[in-house]
């Protein structure tokens, strides 16, 4: 399946991926409104150190441990798209997925709602917002490489 891959050699650490993630998941789809009047936790995790950074999203694992561990059934892998998504209405904020995700790619909602925030590959427009708006192509939306490639 197609996923977002980070290329740390080109990551600027500008965090625009966060900005566009928030915007993409807003009601308004407007950068300013999304940030000023909506409360959205970006699903991107940015690791940055000295001269090195990269953005990380849910890897949408084939055999996703978070889906297996989810105690409410909120976390499911869509059999058609392969996207691991969660049902906000079912999530109770038990953080079992956070305990389970080996990438640390699931976040707690930053506005103290007892729900999580994670990448849903918002690809309605053909490409997830983080990758589509990465100014340096440090995030690319592409097919997963086969083993050994």
């Amino acid at each position: 399946m197609k996923k977002v891959f980070a290329r740390e050699e080109y990551c600027l650490g500008c965090k625009l991926c966060e900005v566009y993630c928030v915007t993409s998941h807003s009601r308004s789809k407007d950068v300013v409104k999304a940030h000023k009047s909506e409360e959205i936790t970006p699903a991107v995790i940015i690791e940055s150190g000295e001269n090195l950074s990269f953005a990380l999203q849910c890897r949408h694992c084939d055999d996703a441990p978070c889906v297996r561990a989810c105690i409410t059934g909120a976390m499911q892998k869509d059999p058609e798209t392969g996207i691991v998504k969660y049902d906000e209405n079912k999530c109770v904020g038990c953080w079992t997925c956070i305990m389970t995700c080996p990438y640390g790619a699931v976040k707690r909602d930053e506005y103290n709602r007892n729900i999580i925030s994670k990448c849903d590959l918002c690809s309605e427009t053909g490409e997830p917002a983080c990758a589509a708006n990465c100014p340096n192509n440090a995030l690319v939306y592409k097919e997963q490489e086969e083993e050994g490639e």
Binding site: C11, V31, N136
Partner: protein, 500 residues
């Protein structure tokens, strides 16, 4: 001196209704012009640090930023303009030479803009490049005045030629003055576009040896990074005598830009200034040049054309003739408006002559000497668009060098701060975090697009003239007319005035 008289040059304007405090501007500014104030929960700016590179403006996702000239109005004075006054403040504080970057920004006459092109109407058909072949292939290198055939009817082999798919090349920009990612972008785009890029005088990074077929390696007075393997790593060799932005002086790379890789590539100690001598100390005359040309040819077994690059200076036509007779296969002339990287301000703005006039004079002189069809002529120095290229070729060039345009395609915003090494666009810098900002894949793509777009436009213009091969444009000055030019200018350019 506790009080600096220097004023900010630019004013950062932030629309707080739009600013979302994402701090992208702060993270993207190598000059620390933006910062987040926690107490005020607001982004603030330090105008005095701003160089107007537009990085923050471009990346701001909320379109909350704009940058303006700082509204500093000295009393009106045509002699003592604000720029003059500010320069004096700078020098009164530094005691140094005024430095700047990129080409000449002063409002001197741009002859390209006074030359107009022809198009076919009725008596011959214009050609539609979308439907008909339109040929831009160009060969650079020495050609025999006349072709001879052996007893089997095969022509005797020609001296080595560079084959270009379109009459554009990326001009010399050294690794050191520009980043490795900028070099990669240029090399890959040249390869993909079937043209050449030029290493400049900084040697050749190991990663770039693979682009050999599309590389011109430069040999300049500093001889940085020049060795046998380097000479063999290009399709052609260029001896740099001068460059448009700073005729008469050598390239200066400040020690701050001489990091690990640059030091290894140039074969100089880490952190030392790389100062090229003003002249080549083995070339004090035309016969010395001849020796160097043939030394390089010998070293590479006559397999590569040798180019000699000079600045356009007053007696450029005679010098060019001398270069042709000294054995150069390609003559490259750089006009005084051109320039990338760093240069002393006053030299850049006051030394040399416009490339249009230099080109016209050189082409005419070489023809008069019967040499023009034997030697190739490349010009550069503010080629800003495809029409400039068409005009240059019609005036007599074989092909053009572009450098500023290439940098701009890669993201340069002409802030003229190349000499600081803090290029926010990842181009004229060696700082790893900044270098990273230019993804060579994107750089390549943008350059390829530029070359493609310009080539399409050249084809359109050729087609309009009823020509379907670029060689029929070369030196075809009847395709040009001047406007707002006096008799002398028209005579030097060898063109008629519009309406004639």
């Amino acid at each position: 001196m506790s009080l600096s008289l220097k004023n900010p040059e630019f004013l950062i304007e932030r629309n707080y209704d739009r600013c979302i405090n994402c701090q992208v501007c702060e993270r993207q500014c190598a000059n620390d012009s933006h910062y987040y104030d926690e107490e005020m929960d607001k982004m603030l700016s330090k105008d005095e640090n701003c160089v107007n590179c537009q990085r923050c403006v471009t990346l701001c996702p909320a379109n909350a930023l704009s940058i303006r000239q700082y509204p500093l109005e000295y009393r009106k004075n045509s002699n003592w303009t604000g720029e003059m006054i500010n320069n004096i403040y700078k020098q009164a504080e530094s005691g140094g030479v005024l430095l700047t970057g990129m080409g000449n920004p002063t409002p001197k006459k741009i002859y390209w803009d006074h030359i107009l092109l022809n198009a076919s109407q009725v008596t011959n058909p214009s050609i539609d490049p979308l439907r008909e072949p339109m040929e831009l292939k160009t060969f650079l290198g020495r050609k025999p005045g006349k072709l001879e055939f052996d007893e089997n009817g095969n022509p005797f082999p020609l001296p080595p030629q560079l084959e270009l798919d379109t009459p554009i090349m990326f001009s010399a920009m050294s690794f050191g003055s520009i980043s490795i990612n900028a070099c990669r972008s240029l090399a890959r785009a040249a390869t993909a576009s079937g043209i050449m890029y030029n290493t400049g005088e900084g040697g050749l990074h190991q990663d770039l040896y693979q682009y050999k077929e599309n590389t011109i390696v430069q040999v300049a007075s500093g001889r940085f990074g020049v060795h046998q393997e380097y000479l063999e790593a290009g399709a052609a060799i260029e001896i740099k005598i001068g460059q448009g932005a700073k005729p008469g002086i050598g390239g200066h790379l400040p020690g701050e830009k001489v990091g690990d890789e640059v030091s290894r590539t140039r074969m100089i100690p880490l952190g030392t200034d790389a100062l090229s001598p003003a002249p080549h100390h083995d070339i004090y005359s035309i016969e010395d040049l001849r020796q160097l040309i043939y030394a390089l040819k010998e070293a590479t077994d006559y397999t590569k054309p040798v180019s000699v690059k000079i600045s356009a200076v007053h007696n450029v036509a005679a010098i060019a003739t001398g270069i042709a007779t000294a054995g150069a296969d390609i003559i490259s002339i750089d006009g005084y408006r051109g320039g990338t990287g760093a240069a002393p301000t006053l030299i850049r703005d006051n030394v040399g002559i416009p490339i249009e006039l230099a080109l016209a004079a050189v082409d005419e002189r070489l023809r008069r000497e019967g040499l023009r069809d034997q030697v190739s002529l490349v010009i550069g120095g503010t080629i800003r668009n495809s029409a400039d290229i068409v005009k240059a070729i019609a005036l007599g060039a074989d092909t053009v060098y572009i450098a500023s345009a290439a940098l701009i395609a890669m993201g340069c915003h002409m802030c003229q701060k190349c000499y600081t090494g803090k290029c926010n666009w990842g181009i004229a810098t060696q700082q790893p975090d900044l270098v990273k900002r230019l993804n060579p894949e994107i750089g390549e793509e943008r350059l390829k697009n530029l070359i493609r777009g310009w080539s399409l436009e050249i084809k359109e213009m050729l087609g309009g003239m009823g020509i379907n091969a670029i060689e029929s444009l070369r030196g075809n000055r009847l395709m040009l007319r001047g406007i707002d030019l006096n008799e002398r200018e028209l005579a030097v350019l060898g063109i008629k005035h519009a309406g004639e």
